[in-house]
């Protein structure tokens, strides 16, 4: 179709049909402010902060929700449009706590940015002030804190939970001024079918949805001389935490990350990639066994705790298809408090394990009743990427000036296969590398599955044809699972990550996030793998040693006890 001619603030512009006024203005360098709009979500048109004046009809229209039509002329800078945008922001502020200094999103708040750029002053808001929303804050966790008093009802969380995740744990309730976003029957987060993925928090423009912080707990452990604090950092963190310190998305800062963790006072600085290799040893062998026995297929990954909880609520009948292998984080912690404690002669009771995760669901996973196989709670604290960045900032550590350092010996060793766990498709690729080589002795070419939505591939391994599929975003996952449920799934192996793009798009990652940023983060992760000398989990020398010294065989008795788990059916709502 041919382009559409419009005029924005007297400038003639040609744009593609279907472009919104908001994006048309962006193309000529005019950023119209908005709050409810989000490029990954359906149109909502609620905040009315992006209004512009349609010069032909004389009406103010929401630029996000108005598609261009031929000959349209509109003004972003007319007095009416300019004042209307301000007034709507002022109205939001008149019912907002405005306690920016103490807010988790101070500095990353989109409302704060808009107030700043529009130059709204306190007196503009004071004249509109009256009653303010006063609703109970849900902070019992396990993963997320919801403060409806800060909420501006933009509905991004509601749409994310429904459209991207297919969970619909959050909805609008009540009417008029009493409207809020809440859970069914206002139940706390722990009592609902929430997957704890935290995607809502990544789209929230203000501080209404944030992770439950464990920073204080971790400081306390570090400051306790009797505690031996071991930290592990998930594969994706090295490609994302740089953003908190001004680096371009996808910049790999592994060396600085290890150095910063040491500066914070952790006794040992390790990588979850070590146990990601271990996961492949267990899960790869488990898949092989299922494939050979034609049992519980398709084999579905279980390293994503958001996905696991979603399955427990919505697909309890398919729990046998999930790999029984624990997630890398949990494998790491069980080994740290058993094998590593023994090796280093440390009392496991004094070991405090901290996991730096891209994920809010990991906070829930660590507290699961199944996660005590070391004889203690395996993982003691989980920090998101954002929380770790905050600790580094609190200590005044100049991240960008740090010299690169390595992870500590043994549980820092890893392969490229482990690194790619950080992005969608990574687990599958890592698993297939090991499975194919074990079966045929031949190495695997890159699978190159895409980052978005559902992707699949077919590969011939010896005399077998294996079909694999990956899905990220739980609404996408549900499509694959419904097929499995109906017995119509063509796949042998399915990888599911709750968050779009996998862990690089996790609910605990730096804000704000966009699809473009997530693409770059994922590309960064793949680039590390490309440069690695050892790229297959079964070739990790420390993993080989771990099996020789301690575990015996994959799926063996000790492995079964420490590295595998069970799932529980949970109510649908």
């Amino acid at each position: 179709m041919s382009k559409i001619n419009i005029k924005i603030d007297d400038q003639a512009v040609q744009v593609e049909p279907g472009t919104s006024l908001l994006n048309a203005a962006k193309e000529i360098g005019i950023e119209i402010p908005y709050l409810c709009y989000h490029p990954d979500l359906s149109l909502h048109g609620a905040c009315r902060v992006c209004v512009v004046e349609d010069l032909k009809s004389g009406k103010l229209v929401a630029s996000c929700a108005t598609p261009v039509t031929e000959g349209m002329e509109f003004s972003t800078r007319s007095q009416r449009a300019r004042v209307a945008r301000r007034r709507n922001v002022e109205l939001l502020l008149a019912n907002h706590p405005n306690d920016c200094l103490g807010c988790d999103r101070n500095g990353t708040c989109e409302l704060q940015d808009i107030v700043h750029s529009l130059g709204i002053r306190s007196e503009d808001v004071e004249r509109l002030e009256g009653e303010r929303r006063e609703v109970e804050v849900d902070e019992v966790g396990p993963s997320l804190k919801r403060d409806p008093n800060k909420c501006i009802l933009c509905g991004r969380c509601v749409r994310t939970c429904e459209e991207i995740q297919g969970v619909s744990a959050l909805q609008f309730a009540n009417r008029g001024f009493n409207s809020i976003v809440t859970t069914a029957f206002d139940l706390p987060q722990r009592d609902i079918n929430c997957a704890n993925c935290g995607q809502c928090a990544t789209v929230c423009p203000v501080g209404a949805l944030t992770e439950i912080s464990e920073i204080d707990k971790v400081w306390k452990a570090i400051e306790d001389d009797k505690k031996y604090v071991i930290v592990q950092t998930a594969p994706s963190i090295q490609a994302t935490i740089g953003e908190e310190f001004g680096y371009e998305a996808g910049t790999i800062v592994t060396g600085k990350l290890a150095a910063a963790l040491r500066r914070l006072g952790f006794n040992k600085v390790f990588s979850t990639e070590f146990s990601a290799d271990l996961t492949i040893m267990e899960e790869g062998n488990e898949f092989l066994k299922r494939l050979q026995g034609d049992k519980n297929l398709p084999h579905i990954t279980s390293c994503c705790p958001g996905w696991v909880k979603f399955a427990e609520h919505n697909y309890p009948d398919l729990l046998n298809n999930l790999s029984s292998a624990k997630s890398p984080m949990q494998m790491f912690s069980s080994i740290a408090k058993t094998y590593y404690a023994e090796l280093e002669d440390i009392d496991p009771a004094s070991i405090y394990t901290v996991a730096i995760m891209p994920c809010t669901a990991k906070k829930f996973e660590k507290d699961r009743e199944e996660m005590n196989d070391s004889g203690y709670q395996d993982t003691d604290a989980v920090l998101t990427t954002r929380e770790l960045a905050r600790m580094i900032k609190e200590m005044g550590i100049k991240f960008e000036l740090l010299n690169d350092e390595d992870f500590d010996e043994l549980m820092g060793a890893h392969t490229g296969a482990a690194t790619i766990f950080g992005t969608t498709g990574g687990v599958t690729e890592a698993a297939v590398r090991t499975v194919k080589e074990k079966l045929t002795g031949e190495p695997l070419e890159r699978l190159n599955l895409g980052f978005r939505g559902i992707n699949d591939a077919e590969l011939v391994i010896g005399d077998k044809t294996i079909r694999v599929a990956i899905a990220n975003g739980l609404a996408n996952a549900a499509e694959l699972l419904d097929e499995v449920r109906k017995g119509e799934s063509p796949y042998d192996f399915i990888e599911i990550m709750a968050c779009p793009h996998g862990c690089v798009g996790g609910g605990g990652q730096p804000l704000p996030a966009s699809r473009e940023k997530k693409d770059k983060r994922a590309a960064g992760i793949k680039a590390i793998d490309d440069q690695m000398v050892i790229r297959k989990s079964h070739e990790n020398p420390m993993i080989i040693k771990l099996y020789e010294d301690f575990l015996g065989e994959p799926l063996g008795g000790e492995s079964h006890h420490l590295l595998h788990t069970k799932y529980q059916a949970r109510p649908k709502n």
């Binding site: 909502h44 009315r48 929401a62 009416r80 109205l91 509905g155 609008f172 009417r175 009493n178």
Partner: protein, 600 residues
Amino acid sequence: MKDIIYRSHILICTGTGCTSSGAKKMRIALEDELAERNLNKEVKIIETGCHGFCEKGPIVVVYPEGVFYCEVKSEDIPELVEEHLLKGRIVERLLFKEPVTEENIPSYHDIQFYKKQERIVLSNCGKIDPENIDEYIALGGYEAVGKALSSMSQKDVIAEVKNSGLRGRGGGGFPTGLKWQFAHEAVSNKKYVICNADEGDPGAFMDRSLLEGDPHRVIEGMIIAGYAIGADEGYLYVRAEYPLAIKRLEKAISQAEDYGLLGDDLFSSGYNFKLHIKKGAGAFVCGEETALMASIEGKRGMPRPRPPYPANSGLWGKPTNINNVETYGNIPYIIKNGAEEYSKIGTENSKGTKVFALTGKINNTGLVEVPMGTTLREVIYDIGGGLGEGMKYKAVQTGGPSGGCITSEHLDLPIDYDSLLGVGAMMGSGGMVVMDDGTCMVDVARFFLNFTQSESCGKCTPCREGTKRMLEILERICEGEGEDGDIALLEDLAHHIKDTALCGLGQTAPNPVLSTLKYFRHEYEAHIFDHKCPAGVCKDLASAYLIDKETCVGCSICAKACPVDAITGTPKESYQIDDDICISCGVCASKCPVSAISQG
């Protein structure tokens, strides 16, 4: 079986209004009385829908004479049967008495209330048994759909409706034929028609009465619309608070299905159409078309931005035509009698009739249908019988919470879509609330803002937050806490909300404020600057009472009557009121035997 031929038919209105005034009880009494006197083979009782004259319910009409009785109670039944049915004498005391002439009027058509009405949509209401499809058919029902399906193309039907000049009766006044054309032109293998019966304006009951009194008319209108746009399925969205309307619709649908008027291959034309009823939970905002469709889909009733319009992407994303009850109610007449005949009624740009729900300080509360172009004066004084005794006309509020006031200077305004907009009011769905000089216009604005604020879906910022701030200011003014600058802020917010709210509910929410500010600004100013409520409605502003020392005889009756002990004095001398304690209840003034107490 041979049909019994009855010598008399007694029509009892069992619409919601008459039912609540005791029509059901009276009907049982009548049945018993007829049985006792062995008249049940001679006189037939028929339950009808609303006659519109709800003020005077329960209403009974006796045919063949056509005598119109009102306010008939069970106790009146023996006399009615004895006198009218046995002796053939009219029961004078149960006739309608014209308020002005005090004359007893026996016939329907001679009552002023009906004289100036032109009943097209309501023509069958009160005349037929709405639960009997044969009665609708006997009066020409389903002829229009037969004509459309057997002799008109889809385009012919649309052209007829376009030429009739019919505009949407739900509030916006969009040309109906054009709306149908858009839905007709949308390409899809599935389309829907929806009837919006989510009537929610305070005091409005036009749609309810039509659905209760003549459900088949609306169904027929919908079938024709469905045929015209190419839809094979329709939904009637009726609020659950209208149980009688729902019951009668259910019955009507099932009868139409039995008669082959709904279902497959209607009139052997190959056209299929089925209808469903969806009960709404009573949210005002669900009257907004996109919210209504969300509600049918099982979602929270919240409006969404348009475009896309329902004609292209409506219910479940399919092209959908959505009209109001009364709009569909006009369709059978248009198709049967032709656009030319229809367009003779009304004004240049507003054709046909409009049904209004006349309420407030008026003698004849009820439902009236008048040709477009009738003046407000005719509606209020000729049909409505004017205001109650001693009351002075102040304004009429039209269009409910989205509308505005019309003052006495516009009483001779011919009512149509455009004239009402011109004076800052709107047609809306047809609510008409008459107010007298004892009405405080700031309080009226506060009432409507309170309504829209509590009915706002909470989606968009200006409606959710803005109407709340406006309401707070109005409450402040009514409580005597108004400040200099409040009026300016009200106007600022009102224009802002009008300009930027997402849906019609929000965009029109400030109208009652803007309209009262336009015509009664002095009342706002009196509240704010003089701390007075001219109408004496706002309690916090009612001025304190004063005892005139000269007149007071020191009887002490006032002091004893005062509920808050604000009056002190010496018996046989004089008494005084303490302003700080007085709550301006007025009890003292009403008890004073020498009228020495008045409001200062």
